[in-house]
Symmetry: C2
Subunit: 449 residues, 2 copies
């Protein structure tokens, strides 16, 4: 690793050499498997988002600007060109923030990268192993770039999934296209010219524009570089490069130290529930109470002993829309006790209407020392009974990861909710066996209607 | 005008109301005429850039992702969809930085806005007057947004033409599409999600990606908003909105104060020469000497009394490429005295080779109080004669603007240099009479091969 990552161009050269030369054999099996899990999970959230109005509208508006339809859309019957497929599949998979999370940066790593790779792969008969390798390398740099910019970048207001995602997609497609290191740096240059996205847009359709563009722009950046479209020598570390403009100061060592030894994408996590992550332990506790037979109309009062952020973000007793309900402890507890499920349907406008006026009274007790992934929930029933549940590490956190079968079940649930008529078993099998599939495009073909 | 432009959403509502309700009749004739001059000038620089390798490559790479070809390209025979036409026409027109300049912000206002408008207009039979109105309103907000972010934004490293250009294009197309103010704010939201571009990319092809995207992204932002694709209420002034993330602090009053009374786009300027603007008075002086009959091989020594930036940016005696020569006083003086021209051919690799080793010795005398648009040039010939030329305000600056006929001549020169076979007189006439043309698309049709 270089001694002076701050010297302009050094980190780009290091990253490009890593992407160009790291063979499949040098990627540990645990990291390869995390890649398969990431792809399975992004298909699950793709099914969940594919039918959203924002995706319908974007497709309708952008379809006149699509070339010959070479690519599939997850959970949808339309065929579009690779650039639009990358855009729409990324936007749909991230639309509920139900996709994966790199804990150190809160980047959703897979949405910008995997859709760009699959769109590129369609029609090219690219072995699944090559795509998995490209995914690992692109997503690895994406997460490390996020580390280099954090916490300033997101706190200032950039949507870090979108900004860093453009680089991940550019380098991933660059790896799949076999670009040499000079062209990989050019691809980073055109990614830097497109890196955009603001936290202000969260909760609106406009967020999907930057997430979709991260995938589309990264794909095009790699294709442009392949055709000798050049860029600056130091698009990230230069005086007016991406990292210096977007962080204060950037920690460029985080981008390159231990590259190929420590794997950031190996730390990826998957959401069990379509809610703000601070609510996860609360839902775990409510699911446990429900499994013990507690009926929701018996609950009079709930006390949550949690990290202060739990109170700050989720003490919302009167939410009236599905979107708001994703950060309401009151609704989450009520709907889980009522239905036993914590899936997208439980956080829909309809579900919210069902609990409105019938939610338990919730008291929050701040415990600043408590891990944010844990909670203690005390429930008091109308007839004066009490029950306490303690969750040490919520489902989906690094200490309590989803099992492979739980990710597969997430996909099955989302596909069923979307009334997907395809062969879900075959799709799941194709992902688990992607590294021996002769054509990576088997995945988008099986995922489309 | 609002009393509290810092309150989130107020400036967006003000800007949107301005774009929605300002009629053609409320735009002063001087501003309308500046719009015609801006469009004529962008066609000139479009011809200059259309044949560049970056444009060839971008077209080749992106054409498979173009829908049905409804739109023309300036100076080129290909037809593409409106989104790609907006991208390529914007990128080409700005590629040499030979397009217009809003002096207070150094934004090149027309490249992102006019190509998006013309691409939208093709096939819709939109009156030229409507397009001119939309151009004025979009470009006005673009320049004012730049004022609100300056000088922090560009100094920090954002390519201000690209970032603010996305808003100009979105609002311009929004005006042309007749969006109401709610949808104009949504269009600003999707523009904010796409606003990108870094100074680090200048001098490379990657710059063209952000300029092209400003036009394309702005066009799509308006089309999405028209189809009810929503966005945040305060995409610019919100706590994590564009202005607060991209300036420290933004001057939001500059965006709205005197809107509809003072016209920033009325201050637009046009470059007579394809060089860094600090060289303009030097070229004026050299042209005058050449007109007086001074032969270049008679010149032994030149002394330039100028603003310190003239020395800092242009004291480059040994430049070896066309691109570098655009900021070399030594080459500029030599080539102008030799050929009598200061056009793109005079700053090509070939022209540089002609002056290499034969450039005059140039001495710079810093005069910090001197206006940057002025220079005093002393020339000493090999036989000991001396001649002094003083330029008070360089051609193309606000105090010495290009005449209408000079802009038309710039277009004629660029079209001729590009061996454009079309009817240049008809094109120039169509721009001067755009407000009475029944179909604005007459301009892109006449400008294409």
């Amino acid at each position: 690793m270089p001694a002076a990552p701050d010297f302009p161009g050094v980190v780009e050269a290091t990253v490009a050499a890593f992407v160009e030369t790291t063979p499949w054999e040098a990627i540990p099996e645990a990291v390869r498997h995390q890649a398969r899990r990431s792809i399975l999970n992004i298909l699950a959230t793709g099914f969940a988002g594919a039918g959203e109005a924002a995706i319908d509208t974007a497709l309708r508006v952008m379809r006149p600007f699509s070339g010959p339809p070479t690519a599939h859309l997850v959970g949808r019957p339309e065929r579009v060109d690779a650039a639009l497929a990358a855009f729409l599949n990324a936007a749909a998979a991230n639309i509920h923030d139900f996709d994966d999370t790199h804990p150190a940066t809160i980047i959703h790593p897979t949405a910008p990268v995997a859709p760009a790779l699959f769109a590129f792969a369609e029609g090219r008969a690219i072995p699944g192993r090559d795509l998995l390798r490209a995914f690992v390398l692109g997503a690895e740099v994406e997460c490390r770039l996020g580390n280099a910019l954090s916490p300033y970048h997101y706190a200032r207001g950039w949507h870090i999934t979108s900004t860093c995602g453009a680089f991940g997609a550019a380098l991933g497609v660059g790896a799949l296209a076999g670009l040499d290191r000079r062209r990989l740096i050019w691809a980073m240059g055109s990614a830097a010219a497109q890196a955009a996205g603001l936290v202000e847009t969260l909760g609106t359709m406009a967020k999907s524009v930057s997430v979709g563009n991260a995938a589309r722009g990264g794909l095009l950046a790699a294709l442009l570089a392949q055709a000798d479209f050049d860029g600056p020598a130091a698009p990230v570390s230069g005086a007016r490069g991406f990292a210096r403009v977007h962080a204060e100061p950037p920690d460029l060592a985080a981008l390159v130290d231990g590259l190929g030894e420590r794997w950031e994408i190996g730390r990826n996590t998957y959401k069990p529930y379509p809610v703000g992550v601070v609510l996860n332990p609360v839902i775990d506790a409510a699911l446990q109470l429900r499994a013990e037979g507690l009926a929701w109309d018996r609950v009079a009062r709930v006390t949550l002993y949690g990290h202060p952020l739990l109170r700050q973000r989720t003490d919302r007793p009167g939410v009236a829309t599905g979107r708001e309900s994703q950060v309401s402890a009151q609704h989450a507890i009520a709907i889980v006790l009522k239905t036993g499920a914590a899936d997208p349907a439980a956080f829909s406008d309809r579900a919210v209407a069902e609990t409105l006026g019938r939610r338990p009274e919730v008291r929050f007790v701040d415990e600043p020392e408590r891990d944010i992934a844990s909670v203690r929930m005390e429930v008091e029933t109308h007839d004066g009974q009490r029950r306490t549940i303690a969750i040490a590490a919520a489902k989906g956190t690094p200490d309590n990861p989803l099992a492979d079968e739980e990710i597969a079940a997430k996909l099955r649930t989302q596909a069923a909710t979307a009334k997907f008529p395809g062969d879900v078993d075959a799709l799941i099998d194709a992902v688990w066996t992607l590294d021996v599939q002769p054509d990576a495009a088997v995945v988008p073909r099986l995922a489309a209607r």
